[in-house]
């Protein structure tokens, strides 16, 4: 591991030691964050997967009914039937903070109080397949909405997990070893300086003694 390019001074050493402590603490915290995020993510993504399969099947089912409705009714009639929807749906979002990731949670509000009030047409000129199509969509709608919530959360968490993992790895494999190496290098350099100072002093002392008393030791 490369030693950072710093002056081997005592001040640098103190700074580096402080940085190392921070880096170690950050590493531990981020690792905990990553683990917890991962645990929650896996739970969520399993739900996401199951929901998606269910929702896709239900929509396919609804589409089949729709196709039949289309084949027995004229296009214009269907268009007119669905032209003015009775329901209007509004969404309230709350944010939930999971390990510093903001994930949404949805609350729906319908315009009419009766949630079964979905047929925007009289039944006289429409096929019952259209009713079936709309009914099956409406039945699965809470799940479709939950899917949106879960899938978005999964996406957001996946991004955050990736970021956190990169940070953990950078700290673990680059920053912390770098600091440790540099601290070791500076310590050794300082020790070496100290030793060379000692020997120099001893040598000077010898020379001075030799000069004053005229003898070699």
């Amino acid at each position: 591991m490369a030693v950072l390019s710093v002056n081997p001074t005592r001040m640098e050493l103190t700074n580096l030691k402080r940085k190392l402590v921070t880096a170690l603490r950050g590493h531990k915290l981020l690792k905990d964050k990553r683990d917890e995020l991962m645990r929650q993510f896996l739970e969520l993504v399993r739900e996401n997967n199951a929901l998606r399969i269910e929702v896709e099947n239900a929509i396919n089912e609804a589409n089949k009914h729709m196709a039949i409705a289309r084949s027995v009714m004229q296009n214009e009639v269907i268009d007119v039937a669905l032209m003015m929807p009775k329901q209007e749906l509004q969404l309230e979002i709350e944010q939930r903070n999971v390990m510093s990731v903001m994930i949404p949670s949805f609350n729906t509000k319908l315009r009419t109080s009766d949630e079964n009030d979905i047929y925007s047409y009289g039944y006289a000129f429409t096929s019952c397949d259209l009713d079936d199509a709309i009914k099956s969509l409406s039945d699965v709608f809470p799940k479709i909405l939950r899917l949106a919530e879960v899938e978005k959360s999964c996406q957001l968490m996946a991004i955050e997990i990736e970021k956190t993992r990169r940070r953990v790895n950078a700290l673990e494999h680059v920053m912390i070893p770098g600091y440790q190496e540099t601290i070791k290098y500076i310590t050794m350099k300082l020790d070496e300086n100290e030793r060379s100072t000692t020997t120099r002093l001893m040598k000077v002392k010898d020379m001075m003694l030799a000069e004053a008393h005229g003898y070699e030791r």
Binding site: E56, N63, Q95, F141
Partner: protein
Amino acid sequence: MNFHLRQSEKGFESFMYRIAVMGDKDSIYGFAALGLEIYPTEDPDTAVDTLKKLAHNDYAVIYITEALAAKIPDEIEKYRDRITPAIILIPGIFGNTGMGINNVKRAVEKAVGSDILN
């Protein structure tokens, strides 16, 4: 993150968002009855424009058919890291292309490093 709570007369409180559905007309017509707003289009350019418009207005969830989404993947990618809108793929009448479930798998791969589902 571009998500924020709008300010109303009573101070900060949650704001009502709407839900849109995009795709070819036949696939999404049924959703209109549920109270969702539908934006029928099959043309990629129109779809990009509509998507931009919806994303910058108060649409929190945009359902889009897989067939249409396949035509504008880059545009959809842009909103992936934002809290709103959530762009969710749904199968159209031409059947299920598996694109939606692949997206889930991609998220797992991104987070975990490999696909551990199934």
